[in-house]
Symmetry: C2
Subunit: 285 residues, 2 copies
């Protein structure tokens, strides 16, 4: 059966009420559409663990800065519906902006401390927009489990913090990064890259793997690891570094020496396209 | 049966799950304790309309400013339990600060535009704290209906806006102000007043009633109404005006001429005790 598609909140609530009457657990995969294998891995996890899988498709204006790519962000809706149908999605929630942000809208959720660093430093207001729309989607869909990608590590961390702090009654599942054969992390923004940029874009993955190797061989000095990434990124002529960071995964604060759960994260521009990637390293000693 | 009292979130969720298994609708009356006839009117509304009445009692630190009365705020818990027992409350949720704000807590909900005016101008951060804790209580208790007093008109308006904006799945009921025989609005803070202040404190009610009379006889000029209140407050030697305002109830923005739903609101200090009161006036012409 093809997925039901709803745009209005009331229709969505009706479909969810019917699923609950059938005692189905609800799983939510919040997306901005342009679904790729990364999203599909989230949908499959939801399909395996829950009885009624909802994919939301909404390019959320409040998480884009004024000079960012909100208008050119890809919106291949028909193709996304086909992907969802093939993956056995039950419901696609596809609201428009006026549905989620009606006239007079004025409420925002903020996770202080985690929002202002890493991607938040380059994209002021971005995580406020993400957290707010995700909170709204959680309240509308009321899933038992919601699925996010490790690719957006800071986003996943912030959403986990919001869920914990606001006592939201659901579980968050974070799924591993899905990569192209050459290591490039899947992203809806990869399609912005020209052939030369695409070739050089593997430099993010290669930088992170170089850090992993160094840590495996005992390196614990974060400054050396950061410098290693900067040097590697500098070898790609089309790349312009936004940030390279080694932070504590709980606090997202810079580490001096690696210990516990460390997030090694990169953001790199190719032209006006901004790519991110990361690895999580667990260091016991 | 006396009300169940829970302090831990897990115990609370357990009690609520049992109520839901019995198909009982849940009503929530969020309070800071020191229950008076105003709170009781909320509890009775909840008792009449819902099957399982929860009263939360929590003096919320995040809504008090550093120089405000958080520490001396009354906490007559045993007496509150008796009130709840007499009113047939099912569950008292009485968490401590560490339960609602564990170490590392960092998420806040903000309703921009409505928070900074009226009481928010005198109490920066107050409504951020109110809205955040109420959002948390809604997520923990998941009531079908939550009850608030018209006495805190701005609070009620802001919470309604939050519920609408964040798509929270519950209804908000606002109950009329309960007054002493001489017109003073009930408040847990009235007990701070000495005999002389208490006598003069009716000046808030008298000011509002004077405005009502003027509006009934055709006065629509908000500046004249505000000046009338200021003059009346000035007749009470122990009173010091914080604000007197005539605002649109939807936007909380000052009106020049009365039309639609107008909120006439006052905040007045007696010594360090700050009292508030208000009336809602519906003006058709």
């Amino acid at each position: 059966m093809p997925p039901l598609i709803t745009t209005a909140i009331e229709d969505t609530l009706g479909a969810l009420a019917r699923a609950r009457q059938r005692s189905l657990t609800i799983g939510l995969v919040p997306t901005m559409g342009a679904l790729h294998a990364g999203h599909i891995s989230l949908i499959r996890a939801a399909r395996a663990e829950t009885g009624f899988v909802v994919v939301s498709i909404f390019v959320n204006p409040t998480q884009f800065g004024p000079s960012e790519d909100f208008h050119r962000y890809p919106r291949p809706f028909d193709q996304d519906v086909q992907v969802c149908a093939a993956e056995g999605v039950d419901l696609i929630f596809h609201p428009d902006s006026g549905t989620l942000y009606p006239v007079g809208y004025q409420t925002y959720v903020e996770v202080h401390g985690l929002e202002e660093v890493l991607c938040g430093a380059s994209r002021p207001g971005h995580f406020r927009g993400v957290v707010t729309v995700v909170c709204k989607l959680f309240n509308i869909i009321q899933p038992a489990v919601a699925y996010f990608g490790q690719k957006d590590a800071q986003q996943a961390r912030i959403i986990q913090q919001m869920v914990r702090d606001l006592n939201l009654p659901l579980a968050i599942q974070v799924q591993p990064i899905v990569r192209e054969a050459d290591g490039l992390a899947l992203s809806s923004r990869n399609q912005y890259l020209d052939a030369n940029q695409r070739r050089q874009a593997t430099v993010l993955y290669r930088s992170l793997e170089e850090v992993r190797e160094l840590v495996n061989t005992g390196q614990r000095d974060a400054a050396i690891l950061v410098q290693t990434m900067k040097n590697r990124i500098a070898t790609a002529a089309a790349a312009r570094l936004d940030y390279a960071a080694v932070v504590d995964f709980e606090t997202l604060k810079p580490l001096e020496r690696l210990h516990g759960q460390a997030l090694v994260a990169l953001a790199v521009y190719f032209g006006s396209t901004r790519l991110i990637d990361n690895i999580l390293l667990k260091v016991d000693d």
